[in-house]
Amino acid sequence: MDYFAQQLINGLVLGSIYGLIAIGYTMVYGIVGMINFAHGDVFMIGGFIALITFLILISLGLTAIPVILLVVLLVSMAITALYGWTIERIAYRPLRHSFRLAPMLSAIGMSFVLTNYSQVAQGARVKPIPPFITGGYTLHESQDGFVIQLSNIQIMVVITTIVLLAIFTWLVSRTRLGRDMRACEQDQTMAALLGVNVDRTISMTFVIGAALAAVAGLMYLLYYGLVDFFMGFVAGIKAFTAAVLGGIGSLPGAMLGGLAIGLIETFWSAYFSVEYKDVAAFSILIVVLIFMPTGLLGRPEVEKV
């Protein structure tokens, strides 16, 4: 039981990080109808910017951890959002009215550009930071000496994810921007006719998605203690899977999919073999898509006439 609880914690934290990245995929898909394959790499860029900001702040002599965290969070969100905006502007917008595959190919190209750019600019080696948020709680100790450990950083990852999910659900369902987004999602031409600035709304979607990816990058950096130029690829694939599993286009679905992938991987590693955890996760994805083609929380797409 204790072992199960510890693995549950492991799975929830991993799933939260996947979920944070998956939200970016799902938002863009919901509105523009394209898969932004460069999103995983935007997440990687966010991690690098967080790392660089950390090093700058520490070399400036700052020691107050909450201040550092807040500044790093804001700076990495702002700069990564700028990346998101720029990518949309130069790689996707000119192709928006081209044939359907064009923006997707452009996204794959963008992903290569970002990966290689970071490799050239930052080097191919991993960039570690010393453990920054340490400590934790022992929740329970069983008779045979097995302790359930919950670290502060794990708490932080989960809380950040919940708070962000709440903020963005509110943003999409209650604000003017959210209403514009939903309007563009349904019919871009009609939304434009009714006075919605479609270009601006789509830009904002990319900006928000990139800012979320920056938060995920920061959490990743704090939790695992390192970033490298290639980390966006694997994390991006997993998060994309999570978005599809949860029902692409649905915000809570992305979160649910992320948690599901995290938990499946963890429990498969815990009770069967670590080697086949990815096989397990993708097998379950296939099974779910066979029986629920739109994912767990997705709505069936209505053909627009």
């Binding site: 492991n10 991993v126 991987e265 670590v274």
Partner: protein, 372 residues
């Protein structure tokens, strides 16, 4: 235009090579990553080779001829290594000390075999280098699978009756290391509690770490690279475990300590003993220091590779690669690393690994002779 330039370059290079070969000297080569990410090691090899050639010439050369040295750059790229090898073979150079990366040494060795060039690597530890039954290869460093033996000896001595787990990352290097350790441990009567593999590049090892915790593992042997090992250690400490991590020579990298922070204290790994501390190296280390060079890493290994070849050439009375190789495998050679014997495959007969330990400050040191 570009191809014209290339032809010009190739012509110039071949001219340079042939002019060296036409002289009365015997030209030998050192090949390694002189540029690129591993260029620090290439520089060490070049330093070692230059010093060895100077010393050999000062002592009268070989068979009445002086040595000349050619340094070639493979940038640790298998394709470039292969073309360097073809260039060296084409210039009829009888001996090369190189390469650095196993992934360069292995493809290059085939071109050397065809071109009648004898190859001694000072650094490539992949077993495959000597396992392909090529006549022309030898090494003056250890083999990855010998590390497993040393690790198992240490574990058997200090962790007998305790819970051991073995992990590997499914790479040639990591799995080879883990399997050899497992074999040697099982032979010593120790059965591991758990044998698992993970994917290189994974960042989240919490699930596997919790399993180690459940099995009360006191020592985990990781056949893999320092990134994953560092993350496993960090996540073990985060989950409140005191399990000791042990691994191979990939952990001899300062980056390991920067991933783990002070938590890396007590981590064990096997690695070649520092040749600078050997009594046979004392004089040469001083000579290097007098020139302002610290003979670190593979400098002295490269020096030793040239020593072995020169002594064998003197004994065989020829530079013909096949005859020299037969002589090398039959004899015993005095080098800066101490006496060296090479077996029929081309590997060192003696096992050249010791156990090192990381401290809290991010440095590692050889464990005392007691092995505790």
């Amino acid at each position: 235009m570009k191809s014209l330039k290339l032809i010009g370059l190739a012509f110039g290079a071949s001219l340079a090579l042939s002019s060296a070969a036409f002289a009365q000297d015997v030209t030998v080569a050192v090949a390694g990553p002189m540029t690129g990410g591993e260029s620090a090691f290439g520089r060490q090899m070049k330093n070692g080779a230059e010093m060895a050639v100077a010393d050999i010439n000062a002592a009268g050369g070989v068979n009445g001829k002086k040595l000349a040295l050619n340094a070639e750059d493979d940038a640790c790229d298998p394709k470039q290594a292969r073309s360097v090898a073809e260039k060296i073979a084409g210039a009829k150079i009888p001996f090369v000390a190189g390469h650095f990366c196993s992934s360069s040494s292995i493809p290059a060795s085939e071109a050397y075999a065809d071109g009648n060039v004898l190859q001694i690597t000072p650094a490539s530890t992949n077993p495959l280098f000597t396992e392909r039954k090529l006549w022309n290869v030898a090494r003056v460093c250890g083999r990855d699978d010998q590390q497993g033996l040393i690790a198992a000896q240490y574990i058997a001595k200090n962790y007998k009756g305790k819970n051991i787990a073995i992990l590997n990352d499914k790479t040639t290097y990591g799995k080879g290391l883990a399997d050899e350790t497992k074999k040697a441990l099982n032979k010593a009567g120790i059965t591991e509690k758990m044998y698992e593999s993970y994917n290189k590049g994974d960042k989240d090892f919490n699930a596997i770490v919790s399993r180690l915790k459940k099995e009360n593992v006191e020592l985990v042997y990781v056949g893999g690279y320092h990134q994953e090992a560092g993350l496993i250690l960090r996540q073990m400490r985060d989950q409140g475990m005191k399990t000791v991590l042990m691994s191979g020579d990939a952990l001899a990298d300062k980056e390991y300590a920067s991933i783990t922070g002070p938590a890396g204290e007590g981590t064990l790994f096997t690695f070649g003993p520092d040749p600078r501390n050997k009594p046979t190296a004392k004089k040469i280390v001083e000579a290097f220091k007098a020139k302002g060079i610290d003979p670190e890493g593979y400098t002295l290994y490269t020096y030793a590779a040239l020593q072995v070849w020169t002594q064998a050439v003197k004994k065989a009375g020829t530079t013909d690669a096949k005859k020299v190789m037969e002589t090398i495998k039959a004899g015993k050679w005095d080098t800066v690393l101490g006496p060296i014997e090479i077996d029929a495959k081309g590997d060192l007969k003696q096992i050249d690994y010791v156990v090192y330990k990381w401290d809290a400050k991010g440095n590692y040191a050889e464990l005392g002779a007691k092995g505790s």
